[in-house]
C-alpha cells in the first residue's frame, strides 16, 4: 500500500443481476486531496462509494481504504471514515444538538470532549442558532451542514460524500465547498460524487464514470487538455438551423446549444475543423461567427461519454 494513497482500488466491480453497476474500476485517491466522481445518475457513483465503505460487497476486485482491506476489515475501518448519504439520514425528530450528541456517543467520543466538540462544530458550520431546532424543520442547506458536521465529528481520516449538494442552493454549495477545502487542508481525504460540472472543477482530481466504467481521470486541467477534440464555438443568428446543418456533417461528434451559442466537438484527427464548419454554414447561407474554444469540463464530459464510433470520426 502506497503511503501517499488513501484509497487504492483495482478491478472493483459490482453486478446487480445482469446489470454491471460498476465495472472493473481502478482508483487511486491521494491523501489529503479532494477527489471527485463525476457522472450522470445511475453511473455507479453511489455504488462505488458504498463498496469503499463496506456497505456493499464487491462482486470482483478489491480495495484498500486507509490501509484496510474492504469489505473484510470494514469493521476496523468504520471509526476512521465519515459518510454523508445522498438522502438526509439524520433523525428528523431529534434536535440538531441531539443528533450531534447521538453521533458523538455512537463514535465513543469521550464524555469530556463531547460538549466542546459539539460547540465547536455548531460554531464552524453556522448552526449555533438552530441547535434546539428539530432536524426535519431545517432548510436544505442547514440539513446539509448538519450532515457534514455529523460526518466529521469523530475526526475521520476519510470523508465519503455522496452527492452532498444535490438539494441546496448555489450559495450554500459555495459555503459547503469552502468547508471541504478547509478539511482537506487539515489532512482529511475527501471523496465526493457530483453531477455538477462547477463542483467537479474544484476537485484536485476527478474520475468520470459512465455506465459503471471509468472513462477518464486526472486533474481537471489534464482532462481539459486531453479531450482529443477540437471545440468550435458557433454564434449564429438562427442557432436552430445552424445546429441542423452542423449535425449533418459526418465527422462532428457532438453539438450542444448554450443559449444562442453552439459548441461543436470535432475529433482532432479531422484537421481543419474550423474551416469545415464555416464551409458548411456558408453553403446553407447561414451567417455565423465561429472560433476555436478551450475545452470546459462539460466538453470533456461530452467527449468521454461519446460512443467509440463518434469519438473516432
Amino acid at each position: 500500500m502506497n503511503d501517499e494513497l488513501a484509497i487504492r482500488a483495482r478491478g472493483l466491480s459490482k453486478h446487480f443481476g445482469s446489470l454491471r453497476a460498476v465495472d472493473r474500476l481502478d482508483l487511486d485517491v491521494p491523501k489529503a486531496s479532494i477527489y471527485g466522481f463525476l457522472g450522470p445518475n445511475g453511473c455507479g457513483k453511489s455504488t462505488t462509494i458504498r463498496m469503499l465503505c463496506g456497505l456493499l460487497t464487491p462482486t470482483e476486485g478489491n480495495a484498500d481504504v486507509l490501509g484496510y482491506h474492504v469489505p473484510d476489515q470494514s469493521k476496523e475501518l468504520k471509526p476512521k471514515i465519515g459518510y454523508m448519504t445522498q438522502k438526509f439520514s439524520l433523525f428528523g425528530d431529534l434536535t440538531v444538538a441531539e443528533n450531534l450528541q447521538f453521533i458523538a456517543e455512537i463514535y465513543s467520543v469521550p464524555a469530556a470532549n463531547r460538549k466542546p466538540r459539539i460547540d465547536e462544530l455548531l460554531e464552524k458550520y453556522d448552526l449555533t442558532e438552530q441547535y434546539k431546532q428539530f432536524a426535519r424543520t431545517m432548510s436544505g442547506g442547514q440539513k446539509q451542514r448538519l450532515a457534514l458536521a455529523c460526518a466529521v465529528l469523530h475526526h475521520p481520516d476519510l470523508l465519503l460524500l455522496d452527492e452532498p449538494t444535490s438539494a441546496v442552493d448555489p450559495q450554500s454549495r459555495r459555503d459547503f465547498w469552502a468547508n471541504l477545502f478547509r478539511l482537506a487542508e487539515g489532512g482529511t481525504t475527501i471523496l465526493v460524487s457530483t453531477h455538477y460540472m462547477d463542483e467537479a472543477e474544484r476537485c484536485h482530481k476527478l474520475a468520470i464514470l459512465d455506465h459503471g466504467v471509468k472513462v477518464a481521470d486526472g486533474t481537471p486541467q489534464e482532462l481539459q487538455d486531453s479531450t482529443g477534440m477540437i471545440i468550435v464555438e458557433v454564434l449564429a443568428d438562427d442557432p436552430y438551423r445552424a445546429q441542423t446543418v452542423i449535425k449533418r456533417i459526418p465527422v462532428v461528434a457532438s453539438v450542444t446549444q448554450l443559449g444562442i451559442r453552439l459548441r461543436v466537438l470535432i475529433p482532432e484527427s479531422v484537421g481543419d475543423a474550423l474551416e469545415l464548419v464555416d464551409r458548411n454554414l456558408r453553403k446553407q447561407n447561414i451567417t455565423a461567427e465561429t472560433r476555436i474554444a478551450h475545452a470546459t469540463l462539460e466538453d470533456v464530459f461530452v467527449a468521454v461519454t461519446l460512443k467509440p464510433e463518434q469519438r473516432a470520426a
Binding site: F88, S89, G92, L94, F102, I106, S108
Partner: protein, 365 residues
C-alpha cells in the same frame, strides 16, 4: 465499555423519539385501556336475557307455570307470544328472537310421558354461544307439583374453582394481558428497523461502529419498560373496575411478563429484518396476531383444539404466558410450579433475538 455506551446511545435516542411521537405514546396507554374496557364490559360469555317468544298452544295452568319458570332462569326473556311454530320460525329467521318456545296442545299429557318431549325449544344455532346457553334450559324439570324439583338431585355438581361467580372478566383479563402485550410489543418493534430503513437513517447507522447486537438490544430496552407499564395499567384497571384478583405473587407476574415481553420484542425485530416497508411489517404482525388470539387458549379452550392447532399454539409465546398469568393470578400458583412455560419464553426470546441480529447484516446487499 464502548459497547455499552453505544447501546445506551441507541436506547436514549429511542426514548427521545418515542417521547415526541404522540400517537405512539397515546397507543401505549390507549390500546390496553380500550381493550380491557371492551373485553371487560362488552364481552360476556355468561349470557343472560336472550330474546324469547312463546307459542303456547296448550294454554293450561301447567304450561303457563312452565313459561314463568323459564323466565325465572333469567336465561330467556319472554318478550312475545305468538300462535304457532311457524310464527316462531319466522321470528327466528328475521333475528327478532334467539329462542322460541313451542308448547304443543297436548303439553300436559306429554309431561307425564317419559318417552316424549313435553315442549320444543327452537334455538338460533347460528350463534354458538346462544346454543350453549339454551342447552341449559333442556335440563329444566317440569312437573305438576312444583315442589318436587327441589327433591331432585343431579348426579354431578359442578363447582367452578377460582372463579365461583363465573364472571367473564376474571377469565378474560389474565389472557388479555398477553394479547395486549403481543399486539403493542410486536407492532412497535416490527416497524422499528424498517422505519429507519425507509427514512434512510439505517444507511447512516450501519456506517457507524455500532454493531447489530447493540442496535437490536438498544432498541428493545425502552419497550420492555413500556410493556411493564402496560401490565401495571391492565392490573390496575382489572382490579378497580372488574375486581380481577392477583392471588399469587405480583413479583412472579412481573418476572413472567418481562420474559414474555422480551420474546415478543425479539419476534418483532425478527419480523422487522424480514420485511422492507412499514406496511409489510404491519401485515406480518397481523398475520401473527390471529393465531395468538385464537390458538393460545385465550378465546377457546386449548384442550378442544385439533392436535395440529395445539402444536401451533404451543409454539406461540402467548400460550405459555397465558398459562402463567392464569396460574399466578387465579390459581395462586408460583413460577416454580410452572417452570417449563418460563423456560420456553426465555429460550424463545434468545433464539428470536439471535436470529434477528444474524439476519440484520450491516450491509446493504
Amino acid at each position: 465499555m464502548k459497547s455499552l455506551s453505544r447501546l445506551m446511545a441507541i436506547t436514549r435516542k429511542e426514548v427521545r423519539q418515542l417521547r415526541r411521537d404522540r400517537l405512539t405514546f397515546a397507543m401505549i396507554i390507549g390500546m390496553p385501556l380500550m381493550q380491557i374496557l371492551m373485553f371487560g364490559y362488552a364481552i360476556n360469555t355468561d349470557v343472560r336475557n336472550l330474546k324469547t317468544a312463546v307459542a303456547d298452544e296448550a294454554n293450561t295452568h301447567l304450561s303457563r307455570e312452565f313459561i314463568a319458570q323459564i323466565g325465572e332462569t333469567q336465561v330467556a326473556l319472554v318478550q312475545q307470544r305468538v300462535d304457532s311454530v311457524a310464527d316462531l320460525e319466522e321470528l327466528l329467521r328475521t333475528g327478532d328472537i334467539s329462542i322460541g318456545i313451542s308448547i304443543p296442545p297436548d303439553f300436559d299429557r306429554r309431561v307425564i310421558d317419559p318417552n316424549r318431549a313435553a315442549a320444543h325449544i327452537l334455538v338460533d344455532g347460528s350463534d354458538p354461544t346462544v346454543l350453549g346457553v339454551a342447552n341449559q334450559l333442556r335440563n329444566m324439570p317440569v312437573a305438576f307439583d312444583s315442589n318436587r324439583q327441589e327433591k331432585e338431585h343431579s348426579a354431578i355438581e359442578v363447582r367452578p374453582y377460582y372463579n365461583p361467580e363465573r364472571r367473564t372478566p376474571v377469565n378474560i383479563v389474565p389472557g388479555l394481558m398477553g394479547v395486549i402485550l403481543t399486539m403493542t410489543m410486536m407492532i412497535f418493534t416490527a416497524v422499528a428497523i424498517v422505519r429507519e430503513r425507509e427514512l434512510g437513517n439505517l444507511e447512516l447507522l450501519i456506517n457507524t461502529p455500532v454493531t447489530s447486537a447493540e442496535l437490536m438490544i438498544g432498541k428493545i430496552l425502552p419497550y420492555i419498560a413500556i410493556g411493564l407499564v402496560q401490565l401495571a395499567l391492565i392490573l390496575a384497571i382489572g382490579d378497580l373496575l372488574f375486581d380481577v384478583p392477583v392471588r399469587g405473587s405480583v413479583l412472579d407476574l412481573y418476572i413472567a411478563a418481562s420474559f414474555f415481553i422480551a420474546a415478543n420484542l425479539a419476534l418483532g425485530l425478527f419480523v422487522s429484518t424480514m420485511v422492507s416497508t412499514q406496511f409489510q411489517a404491519m401485515q406480518a404482525t397481523f398475520f401473527l396476531m390471529m393465531p395468538s388470539i385464537l390458538l393460545s387458549g385465550f378465546m377457546f379452550p386449548f384442550d378442544g383444539m385439533p392436535v395440529a392447532a395445539q402444536y401451533i399454539g404451543e409454539a406461540l409465546p402467548i400460550t405459555h404466558f397465558i398459562r402463567l398469568t392464569r396460574g399466578i393470578m387465579l390459581r395462586e400458583a408460583s413460577l416454580g410450579d410452572m417452570p417449563f412455560a418460563l423456560i420456553y419464553l426465555g429460550s424463545f426470546a434468545f433464539v428470536a433475538m439471535t436470529a434477528a441480529a444474524m439476519r440484520f447484516s450491516k450491509r446493504l446487499d
